[in-house]
Assembly symmetry: C2
Homo-oligomer: 404 residues x 2
C-alpha cells in the first residue's frame, strides 16, 4: 500500500503569499470599489526593456527555422549565457568564478528550494529570522526540521538567528554550530545588508567549521554602497564554503520569464566529493534546462544597452524605495532597509501584531503589505513593503498610510 | 560538519546520454570527415510551427507594455492553458479531468523526476525494464532503490518488470506488490503500446492493491490505433489510482521551449490526504511557474490551426518511423515499435551486445543510436532508433545501416 511523504504533512498551513491572496480576495469581494494598492509580494511591475524584447523576438525567429532551431539545451545552460555571467557578474568584480561553475536554471526559487537535496538529512540548518519561507519549508519537506513548536513558532532542528532592531537586522554567529547556513543579502524581507568585512567573518566561520553557506544574492543589483559585496566570492575562502544563488527576476524583471543561476565552485568538496558534481547530477537527472529564448534574453541583460536599461529599472524601483522610506520616517514610523534593497521594513505602530497591522492597513488604506511574522517569529511586530510597484501608486499608497 | 546526501553517491556513473555524447565526440575527433547522423537522443529537429511562433511573438510584445506585462504566474499555471488542456486532452476524449486538476510545469522530465518526492521513502517502486532512466535514478537519489547489484544490473528495492520479445514488450503483473508503478505508453524506449483493456487491468490492479500508477503519456500524439488509450483516464477507476504526465516536447517540438503538465485528480487520496494537495504544495514551494510566453505557446498548440500543424509535425516524424521500420525489416532485422510511437526498437544482430552494436553502427555507418542496455538489464541485446531526425538524413541512415 502506497504511503505519502510524511514530512510534507508537517508543513504549516499554506504558503504565506497564498494566505495574503486569500485575505485580499475577501476584502475585494466585500469592498468592490476599493482601489487596492499592492506592495506585498515581491513581484515587479515594469515591462521588459527594449533590448530584452528584441532578443526574445530574435530568438523566437530562430526557433522558426530548421537551421537555427534549438532543441534540448546543454544540461547546465548555454555557453553564451554562462560566459556572459562569468564575465560580468564575477570577473569584472574580481571574483574567481568560471563559466563552468555556473548552472543556469528557471529561477532562484527552484534553486533555493532544491539545493538542500544534495545534503544529508542529518545536516543542521541555520536561517536568519525573519527569513524567506522557502528555505525553511523545503527543509521541512526533506525531514530536516524536526518538530514544530506552536508556542515559539520554531522548528526544533532549525537554528534560528534573530535579525531584529537589537542586532541591526543582521544575524550573529549562533551558539550551536550549523552545517548549512542560509544567508540572503541584501536581505529579504528586511532590506538589511552586510558589509564585506562582516560577510568575511561568516566565510571564515564556515571554513573553520566545515559548514556550507548558501548565499542568496537575488537582490545584488540594488546595492548602492561601496562596502556591500555583490557576491560572496568577493570574500576570501568563499570558494571553499559557499554556493551562490542569483536571479534575473529583480534586476531585469524576469519574474514571469523565469531565469536564474547557481554558482558552485569546483573547489567546494565534502568528504572528497565535489558539490559541483552532485548538483550537475541533479540538474542532468531532474531538469532539462531553461528555454533557449529565455537564455538569449538573459544574455541580452549583459549587453551594454541591456545593462543601461536594467540600471534604469532598478533606479525606478529605488526611487519608490526612497519615497516609502522618507515618507514613513517623516510620519514617525521606525523603518529600515530601502537603501541597498527594494524592501522597506517597518516596526508596526501602537504595539500591533504583524497580522493586525496587515488587516489595519488593508482596511484603512486599501494597501497590501506583508506581515513580518510570516517570515519567522522574530518578524513579529514588523511589516514589509516593497518598492516594486508603479511609482504613482506607490506614492499614493505612502500618502494614504501617512494620512491613515 | 556538513555531510552530503549519500544516496546521490549510489548513482551509477553518468547519465546514459552523457556517455553517448562522450563516445560520439571522441569518434568525431578521430574522424573529422565523418558525416554523423544522430538517431540517438529523443530530441526533435523540426522548427516550431507558424501558429506557435506567432503566439510567442505576441506574448513577447505583451511583456513589453506596462498594461499587458505579466510577472509571477499563478502557481499551478495560467487558466487559459489549463482550460485548453482540460478541454482538448481530456473532455474531448471523454475523460473526467477538470482544469484545476492540471499542474503546468517546465516539462515532463522535471515532473517525472520530482513526483516521487510526495511519497514515502519506504514505498516499493516498480518499473518496466527497459525503462526511461529518470524514473530509476530519481528514486535512487531519494534512497528508495536499495543497493545496486553489478551482476544483474538491478537495484535491490526496485521491482523490475521485464518487457522483452517474450512478453510482447509489455510488463506483466509482478510477483511482489509495488506501491508505485511507473508506466510509459506509448513506450520509451521500445515504442510498444498498451491497449485500453490491457491498461484497464493495471488500473484495476492498482486500485485493488492501493498502489499508484505514474502514467507517462509523453508520446500520446503518436498513437494511430483506435484501441490504444491516449490517457489513463480513459480507464475506469483511474481517478482513484493514477497520476498522468504529459509533455509538449514530442508533439509540438518544445524540447527547447520547455512545457509540460501533470494531472492529479482530486479524488486521489492516500490516508485521507489528497495527492493533489501535496503536489500543489511542492509546486508552490519549490517552483515558480512556466514562463508566460511559453504558456501562451502551449495554448496555441490547441488552436484549430495549431492542431493541424502539430499533426503535420507528428506525421513527418511518423514517416521517418515507417521508413526505418520497413527498411530494417526488409534487411532482416527484428524490429518493433514505430507504429504508434516515434521509437524503433531492434534486436541487435549476430548476438552483439547493445554497446557493441552502438560502436559497430557508429564505426560502420556513422549513425548514432541508443544502446538498449542503457535503459535497463532487459534492454541488453536491443537498440533504439528515433524518428525525430530530418527525413533525408533518416533515409540515408537507414540506407547506410542496410548496406553496412
Amino acid at each position: 500500500m502506497v504511503k505519502i511523504n510524511s514530512d510534507y504533512t508537517l508543513l504549516r498551513s499554506s504558503y504565506l503569499f497564498s494566505t495574503i491572496a486569500g485575505k485580499v480576495k475577501e476584502y475585494e469581494q466585500n469592498n468592490p470599489d476599493a482601489n487596492i494598492i499592492r506592495l506585498g509580494i515581491g513581484d515587479v511591475t515594469r515591462p521588459l526593456t527594449g533590448t530584452i524584447i528584441d532578443s526574445l523576438h530574435k530568438a523566437v525567429d530562430e526557433m522558426a527555422s530548421e537551421s537555427t532551431f534549438r532543441g534540448y539545451a546543454p544540461d547546465l545552460g548555454y555557453e553564451f549565457l554562462r560566459s556572459a555571467i562569468a564575465r560580468n557578474d564575477y570577473e569584472l568584480r574580481g571574483c574567481d568564478i568560471s563559466a563552468d561553475e555556473i548552472f543556469v536554471s528557471d529561477g532562484a526559487k527552484s534553486d533555493s528550494g532544491n539545493i538542500q537535496e544534495i545534503f544529508s538529512k542529518d545536516c543542521r540548518v541555520a536561517v536568519c529570522d525573519p527569513v524567506y519561507p522557502v528555505y525553511v519549508d523545503t527543509n521541512v519537506m526533506a525531514g530536516r526540521a524536526g518538530t514544530y513548536d506552536e508556542e515559539s513558532g520554531k522548528w526544533s532542528n532549525i537554528i534560528y538567528m534573530p535579525c531584529t532592531r537589537e542586532t541591526g537586522f543582521l544575524p550573529e554567529i549562533p551558539s550551536e554550530t550549523p552545517d548549512i547556513i542560509y544567508l540572503c543579502f541584501p536581505n529579504n524581507p528586511s532590506g538589511s545588508t552586510m558589509t564585506k568585512s562582516r560577510l568575511q567573518e561568516w566565510v571564515d566561520y564556515a571554513v573553520r567549521n566545515k559548514a556550507i553557506i548558501i548565499f542568496d544574492a537575488a537582490y545584488e543589483s540594488y546595492i548602492r554602497n561601496e562596502d556591500v559585496p555583490h557576491s560572496i566570492y568577493e570574500c576570501e575562502g568563499a570558494r571553499e564554503c559557499a554556493i551562490e544563488l542569483r536571479s534575473f527576476s529583480k534586476n531585469a524583471g524576469f519574474t514571469g520569464v523565469r531565469l536564474g543561476f547557481t554558482v558552485i565552485p569546483k573547489t567546494l568538496s565534502v568528504d572528497g566529493v565535489t558539490l559541483h558534481s552532485l548538483w550537475a547530477r541533479r540538474h542532468g537527472t531532474k531538469y532539462n534546462g531553461a528555454p533557449y529564448i529565455v537564455q538569449r534574453a538573459g544574455e541580452a541583460v549583459y549587453s551594454e544597452e541591456g545593462k543601461k536599461e536594467i540600471r534604469g529599472l532598478v533606479d525606478y524601483y529605488m526611487n519608490n524605495a526612497t519615497y516609502i522610506l522618507n515618507g514613513l520616517k517623516a510620519a514617525g514610523y521606525e523603518v529600515s532597509g530601502g537603501v541597498n534593497a527594494p524592501y522597506i521594513w517597518l516596526k508596526t505602530p501602537k504595539g500591533m501584531s504583524s497580522w493586525e497591522y496587515f488587516d489595519y492597513l488593508l482596511k484603512n488604506a486599501s494597501v497590501v503589505g506583508t506581515p513580518g511574522s510570516g517570515f519567522g517569529p522574530s518578524g513579529e511586530g514588523y511589516f514589509r513593503l516593497t518598492a516594486f510597484g508603479d511609482a504613482d501608486k506607490t506614492k499614493e499608497a505612502v500618502d494614504r498610510i501617512v494620512n491613515m
